[in-house]
C-alpha cells in the first residue's frame, strides 16, 4: 500500500503549517500541487521532486499524484489553507476509487477563514457560515440563496473568492443581499495575502465594504448583529459576562 498525503500547508508562511504537515512533506519523495503553492514551500524541502499543474487542471493534478504513488513513491498533494475546505481532498477521494492500492492520509491545515480571522481580531467567535463567491462550479442562484439565508440567520459570514477578473461586482452583489437583513453599520473586515508577503487587514462597515474593490487574494468577513469594532479589531462576542 503506497501512502498519498493530502496536506493543507496553511496560509503560506512556513510557520503557519502544522508540525505534522511539515513532517509529511519531509517524508515525501514527490510533492504535487498548483504552481503557486509549490513555490511557497519549495525552499523548505530541498531535494524533493516537485510536480505542478496550472489552475483549472485539478483532475489532472490528482491523477498525477496517484500515478506517482502507484510507482511506490511517497507522495504529498499540497493545497493552501486546509485541503478539505474548497481543496483537493474531495476530488482525491472521488478519483481514489480507481487506485485501490493507494491509501490517502489527510492532514488538516489553517484555512483562510481562521488565518485571516487572527489578523482581524476575533470575528468567528460565534456561529458562522463560509461561502465561496466563485460561480465556476456552483450556480450563482445557489450562492445568492445561501447569502440571503445566512444573513437572515445572523451568521458571521466568511467569503472566499470574493472577486476575480471576470467577477468584479460579485462582492457588491453579495453585500446588497446581506444589507436586506443587516444594518449598513455592521462591522466587516477583509484580509489580503493572509500569511504571505504584503499581508494587509482592514476593518470597516458593511456599507463601506459594499463600495470596496477587493482582489482574488482577499478573504472577507461580515459580522453578525453583535460584532464590534474594538480599537480597530473586529470582535464577535460569545456572550460571557465581563
Amino acid at each position: 500500500m503506497s501512502i498519498l498525503y493530502v496536506v493543507g500547508i496553511g496560509p503560506g508562511a512556513y510557520g503557519k503549517m502544522t508540525i505534522e504537515a511539515a513532517e509529511a512533506l519531509k517524508n515525501s519523495d514527490v510533492i504535487v500541487g498548483y504552481t503557486v503553492y509549490v513555490d511557497l514551500v519549495k525552499e523548505h524541502f530541498p531535494g524533493k521532486e516537485f510536480l505542478t499543474t496550472p489552475m483549472r487542471r485539478e483532475t489532472e493534478r490528482c491523477e498525477l499524484a496517484f500515478l506517482e504513488a502507484e510507482k511506490g513513491k511517497t507522495v504529498a498533494m499540497i493545497c493552501s489553507g486546509d485541503a478539505g475546505v474548497y481543496g483537493m481532498t474531495g476530488l482525491m477521494y472521488e478519483i481514489g476509487v480507481r487506485y485501490p492500492g493507494v491509501e490517502l492520509k489527510v492532514i488538516g491545515g489553517v484555512t483562510a477563514a481562521i488565518g485571516g480571522a487572527a489578523v482581524l481580531g476575533a470575528p468567528l467567535i460565534h456561529d458562522f457560515a463560509v461561502i465561496s463567491l466563485s460561480d465556476l462550479l456552483t450556480p450563482w442562484e445557489k450562492i445568492e440563496k445561501r447569502l440571503e439565508l445566512s444573513a437572515e440567520a445572523d451568521f458571521v459570514i466568511c467569503l472566499y473568492n470574493p472577486s476575480s477578473k471576470k467577477r468584479k461586482d460579485y462582492l457588491k452583489k453579495a453585500c446588497d443581499l446581506v444589507l436586506k437583513h443587516r444594518s449598513p453599520d455592521t462591522v466587516c473586515g477583509y484580509v489580503k495575502n493572509i500569511g504571505r508577503e504584503g499581508e494587509e487587514g482592514c476593518v470597516l462597515t458593511l456599507s463601506r465594504l459594499h463600495d470596496t474593490q477587493v482582489d482574488m487574494f482577499t478573504t472577507v468577513w461580515i459580522g453578525n448583529s453583535q460584532t464590534k469594532n474594538i480599537n480597530g479589531k473586529m470582535v464577535t462576542p460569545r456572550g460571557y459576562r465581563l
Copy 2:
C-alpha cells in the same frame, strides 16, 4: 509593551499544532489555560509556569493572563482547536481594553471542524455553516433558527457541543429541524476525541444520526444534498469533472 499570545493548539496531539504555535509556547514564561488543555501540552514545554482555571471561569482566566503579562512576563493563553472559533480571543480583546500596555498576538490553529473533517474524509469541500448547540450563552430559539435556515440553504453543517449532561436530546432536536429540508439518507458523520487518544470517526445517515447518542467530546457533520459516502468516507463534491 508586553506580549500576550493567544494560541490555538489544534485538536490535541502535539503534531497538529502549527510551527508558530509551538514557537510561541517555547518563547513564553507562563502558559495559561483551561486545565484539560494545559494537561495536553504540559509535557512538551518543560520549565514553563502553568496557570489554570476550571470551566466556566473564562473571564477570570483572561484576567489572569493579562495580570501576568503586566508583570512583564511573556504569556500564552491557550485554547484547543483555534482560539478564534468559540475560543478566548474575543473575550481577550474585550478585556484587553483595560490593559493598554499589553499587546495581543493571535496564532491560528486547526479547529475541530477541520481536524475532524480530515478523519471523516472531505465533508467541508463546499460552503458550510458551523453552529454550536450549547445554549449556555445563546438562546435556543436562535440556535433553532440557524439550524433551519442552514438546512434550507443546503449548507454542510458542522455542529460543535452537540451534547452535554444537561442537553442529552439536543442533537436529536437539531436532526429533526434539518430533516424538514433534507433527506433521511443524507450522509453525516461524527468524530469523538479528534486528534487525541481514543479518536473514533463514524459515517452514517441523517436518520441514524438522529437516533445516536454522542458525548461532549464529539463533533458532528451533516452533509449537503450532494454529499456522498465513498468507501466509508464522507465526501462533499465541489463539482469538478471526473
